[in-house]
């Protein structure tokens, strides 16, 4: 049975995932069905992923991660089949990307030792601080990029910048978490 705090965290994650899906549906309805289906599919897949990841992370049970990996494999298979035959109306690319993320996250957890699967207060603290510092780094990058663009020093496409920021956020969070894990604590 989950405690009150874990339940609150789980519902927050589910709500956030549902917001993605609602936003996609709302965008589709507002546009009168003419909105870009690729973008909307990505939003829906992200929402579903967020919900699954939240539930899986809170429960931290091997079975959930196994199910998650299997769902990932099915998503990749379905996406590939849809792309090859053209029988699936959804975007094959989004399904494959979502599936690969699920296989990666589930696989990493399953490959971890029993010890590393325990989520204690220290790992939670380091995880939270790592993410927070990563937010600061990304924010600084956004400020720098903004001024470089304003002063016409840099001329890059929006998609390149968004892609770079996405990777910066992920890898800086991983770096800070690795660093503080080695240190023992966050200060």
């Amino acid at each position: 049975m989950l405690d009150k705090k874990a339940m609150k965290q789980m519902w927050f994650g589910i709500l956030f995932g549902l917001l993605f899906i609602v936003a996609a549906v709302a965008a589709w309805l507002v546009s009168g069905g003419t909105a870009d289906t690729t973008g909307l599919t990505i939003l829906v897949v992200l929402g579903i992923l967020m919900i699954i990841l939240t539930v899986v992370k809170i429960h931290a049970d091997r079975r959930y991660f196994l199910v998650m990996t299997v769902i990932g494999v099915v998503m990749v298979g379905t996406g590939a089949l849809g792309m090859l035959t053209g029988t699936i109306p959804l975007e094959g690319g989004s399904l494959i990307t979502g599936g690969l993320i699920m296989i990666f996250c589930g696989g990493i957890w399953l490959a971890r030792s029993k010890e590393k699967r325990i989520v204690d207060e220290r790992s939670q603290k380091i995880g939270t601080y790592g993410t927070a510092f990563s937010w600061y780094v990304t924010f600084m990058a956004v400020v720098i990029l903004y001024w470089l663009d304003m002063l016409d020093v840099l001329a890059v496409q929006a998609s390149t910048i968004l892609g770079s920021l996405m990777f910066l956020m992920i890898f800086s969070a991983l770096f800070f978490q690795w660093y503080y894990n080695r240190q023992g604590d966050v200060y």
Binding site: E115, D120, E121, G184, D185
Partner: protein
């Protein structure tokens, strides 16, 4: 902050892994606690003290620099 965790744990004949299991944390958390590199929450400090049959006061020693 200094701790006497290692001393109390040895007195009880417990391993780091056994203590970690008793309080529901990773073994490395116990390692960093014993080295004085991790500041535990009040709850964890109390759980460790209970597992080692002692009190928080006896387990964790704070110096002037911790004020």
């Amino acid at each position: 902050m200094q701790t006497r965790m290692k001393e109390f744990r040895a007195r009880k004949g417990m391993t780091q892994a056994a203590l970690a299991e008793a309080v529901g944390v990773r073994r490395e958390t116990i390692v960093f606690l014993e080295k004085g590199k991790y500041n535990p929450s009040l709850r964890l400090a109390w759980q460790v003290a209970c597992a080692l049959d002692t009190t928080i006061d006896d387990l964790f020693l704070f110096g002037e620099e911790d004020k």
